[in-house]
């Protein structure tokens, strides 16, 4: 029927074809739904208020980026899933494939207009010069990857040698003994 090599793309293409479901299903569902109580939560007042008021003010910069990208990707790709934009910092807790082996962790900072950004934290003895980041884009995205053994590390970005900045995409450290907030990255959960 076809070249062996082409079977897979043809299979996927066929499976991705839209499927027509009987629209009468809608009525059946609505009949079942009509008999249900209006959906509520125990703290429904707070949630409803949130829904009708729109987004709360406290939206991290990257949450905003993710939303913007979602609006685009949802329409263009026809997919539900919100693909984070490539710039979305992924300070991922990468599981170490071998227990105790270092895993590469990528740190991304957003600092438009900066001339230098360094990564400073527990993993480099808070040495402000040890881990310079490199500009990954023209509009202020800086990044660096570090191999880190499993553990939990506090860190921050130092912009232009003077301004300390936490990582908005990472959990904040509860301790800010020295005036500026730090972030936490956890690598290789046991």
């Amino acid at each position: 029927m076809s070249e062996d090599r082409e079977w897979f793309p043809r299979l996927v293409e066929a499976l991705r074809e839209p499927v027509r479901i009987d629209p009468a299903l809608d009525r059946r569902i609505m009949r079942r739904v009509a008999g249900e109580a209006v959906p509520r939560l125990r703290w429904h007042e707070a949630v409803r208020d949130w829904l009708t008021r729109g987004r709360p003010v406290r939206l991290t910069p990257l949450g905003g980026m993710a939303l913007a990208a979602a609006a685009l990707s949802g329409v263009v790709a026809g997919r539900f899933w919100i693909s984070p934009p490539a710039e979305r910092p992924a300070v991922l807790a990468m599981p170490a494939s071998v227990s105790g082996a270092p895993a590469a962790v990528q740190f991304v900072a957003v600092a438009p207009g900066a001339t230098s950004v360094t990564l400073v934290g527990d993993f480099n003895d808070w040495n402000v010069a040890a881990t310079p980041m490199h500009a990954a884009s023209e509009d202020g995205i800086w990044s660096v990857s570090l191999p880190l053994p499993p553990g939990r590390y506090r860190y921050a970005f130092l912009v232009d040698g003077t301004r300390w900045m936490a990582d908005p995409a990472a959990p904040a450290a509860a301790d800010s003994d020295f005036g500026s907030t730090n972030s936490v990255v956890t690598v290789g959960e046991p």
Binding site: L41, L62, P171, S180, V184
Partner: protein
């Protein structure tokens, strides 16, 4: 500061701590990074902590952080002493056989607002498994705005049935939901329900034993 004064201060500290702390038992990483007085004091705190069997790396890291941020010696010492106390309290609450990682994570949880009693409850709720991840997740949930009591309740609810990887996924999901605009408590509630559906709330957990949700 004169050499004589430094020496006298060091001797006083050594006497006060009652430890045969050799004057040259220096934490190498601190060398050249802190003002000398502060370095000596931090070194003493570290030494005492080490002799008490507490993890010392976080103490040194904290001092180095202060140094990099240009904090005064006094402020650095205060921060290190505070952390040492938290490590001690965490170890008391979690038990003397706790691992270093558990103690450090417990201290983070205390800093985030959990009480020693909360840590003790967590230990009882999660027998036979380490508490490092659970405690860390507790602190992280607080950091994204979940009220500490709610975070404690959630972490303890998960303690019986969730693996460490489940805790990690739980935290990540709540963080993402919050980043995309959900209120922290609502996000927590959604993810707890999902965990319940997956049976991660443990054998004794059912709808009745879900943590109280605060509006």
């Amino acid at each position: 500061m004169t050499i004589a004064r430094t020496t006298r201060l060091t001797a006083l500290l050594a006497a006060a701590l009652g430890a045969a702390a050799p004057l040259h038992a220096q934490e190498p990483r601190l060398e050249g990074r802190l003002p000398e007085t502060a370095r000596v004091q931090v070194d003493s705190v570290v030494t005492v902590a080490r002799q008490a069997g507490l993890p010392t790396e976080p103490l040194v890291d904290r001092a180095l952080e202060g140094a990099s941020k240009g904090a005064t010696g006094a402020r650095i010492v205060t921060a290190v002493e505070r952390l040492a106390q938290e490590l001690r309290t965490a170890r008391d609450a979690l038990g003397t056989h706790s691992t270093d990682e558990e103690i450090v994570a417990g201290a983070s949880a205390l800093r985030a607002g959990a009480t020693p009693a909360d840590l003790a409850r967590l230990r009882r709720a999660r027998t036979g498994r380490t508490l490092t991840v659970a405690s860390a997740v507790l602190a992280d949930l607080v950091s994204v705005g979940v009220p500490v009591d709610t975070a404690v309740a959630a972490v303890i609810a998960l303690a019986g049935g969730a693996a460490d990887a489940d805790y990690v996924a739980f935290r990540r999901n709540v963080e993402q939901d919050v980043a995309l605009g959900a209120s922290p408590v609502a996000a927590l509630g959604v993810r707890l329900d999902a965990a319940a559906d997956r049976g991660e709330l443990g054998q004794s957990a059912g709808p009745a034993s879900k943590p109280p949700r605060k509006p």
